[in-house]
Symmetry: C2
Subunit: 236 residues, 2 copies
């Protein structure tokens, strides 16, 4: 990871140049805590296409995505990476492996040039043992993750593909103002695989929704015409 991959280099605590958006990752922080994290953090840059880590790799540090886009999922030799999740910075990239067994449970690959920071677990534990309020922030972040995963699991188990797509579209507007126009930020095949369906099925469902007048799709731009109806479908 170090001498082998020259372009994926650690820049120890690059505080002058790099502002890590801790509040976006952890919520509001005391500035002393933010500085303590900065002191631990190691920034890394990776070019588009780089595989950041693989399942079963040692995971000695939490990894946060500061900027760029990363697909997490399952690497298969012929097919490339099947995305179970696509992250846009800032977001946590590896949150649980380092806590649990020090192994990653995922493959991750950069879809754009990306900037990550790593928090080595051992020093982090020591820090949290001294700064309990900061520890609570990590618990909160983990709990949000649990919550998110539970609702995805629920959807996958009980909703058909159409309902999942409708729910996904609705969710894209959560905490967003009026405008009902959505610019898709990922390849449709990645959206499909995050929703647990094939690209063909996604395509057909998009067509079906627009034929029924619920949405209008043009390339990567999607407009919601009937939010009410869409929410109805998402229930089922």
């Amino acid at each position: 990871m170090n001498a082998i991959a020259p372009s994926y280099e650690a820049t120890q605590a690059a505080r002058p140049t790099l502002q890590v958006p801790w509040p976006a990752l952890l919520g509001p922080l005391a500035s002393a805590d933010a500085q303590a994290l900065d002191a631990l953090a190691q920034a890394r840059y990776a070019p588009e296409g780089r595989r950041l880590f693989s399942r079963c790799d040692a995971a000695p540090a939490l990894v946060a995505l500061v900027d760029g886009q990363v697909a997490c999922g399952w690497w298969q030799a012929e097919r490339g990476l099947t995305a179970e999740r696509v992250l846009h910075g800032p977001a946590w990239l590896a949150m649980c492996g380092p806590w649990v067994d020090g192994r990653h449970g995922n493959d991750a690959q950069a879809q754009t040039a990306v900037l990550t920071v790593e928090l080595p677990m051992e020093p982090l534990r020591a820090l949290l043992a001294r700064q309990p309020l900061l520890g609570l922030r990590f618990s909160d972040a983990l709990a949000r993750e649990v919550s998110r995963l539970e609702s995805r699991l629920h959807e996958l188990m009980h909703k058909d593909a159409g309902a999942r797509l409708a729910a996904w579209i609705c969710a894209q507007f959560a905490g967003r103002p009026q405008p009902s126009v959505l610019r898709l930020a990922e390849r449709k095949r990645d959206i499909a695989s995050q929703l647990g369906m094939t690209p063909e099925t996604l395509s057909r469902l998009m067509r079906s929704l627009s034929d029924r007048g619920l949405i209008a799709v043009s390339g990567y731009t999607l407009r919601v015409l009937d939010p009410q109806g869409l929410r109805g479908l998402a229930e089922a």
Copy 2:
């Protein structure tokens, strides 16, 4: 929750009679920390069939199942509760809602008489702010939960019903000694719904596995005849 449901009564900090198995829930604890938790904990008893909480109910406290069996999932008026998960004490019953938004994300129903303890979130936060090592134990527990959910999500997205069943059977023996005999602890319909399939499909798959000589099933007793082959199926 108090005056309304007389048989579901809080017995404040019943330390003399009730030994809460904190180590099973949180890992090894300093005895002072265990005592502090005991001081917060409220024990509750509920008879078989009682619905413990519902989705969107306020979740002011973490809930741990001390003893008994609880199904968590999705309540539907005609069908009863579809189990997304069945818990056997000791285990965490409501771990994330209280941290995140103070709402439950699940319905939960007792399948036997059960004993639970609740840790009110506000005092707990205050305690963890004073006892950082205890806070780390909660982070660990949350991270384990994330890890578990991620792997379930992965299975649901990428494995067919047969592979999921094979993987589930293998998982039942994780951290268990030699004997390859399994006593099913839940109704088959609950096992099926946890695996994201119908009872009919589970039944057919069980038959198919035993026809192929991989397992032998007799009522609620299951014997693994070909662990190797079973693990092979679980991969796919």
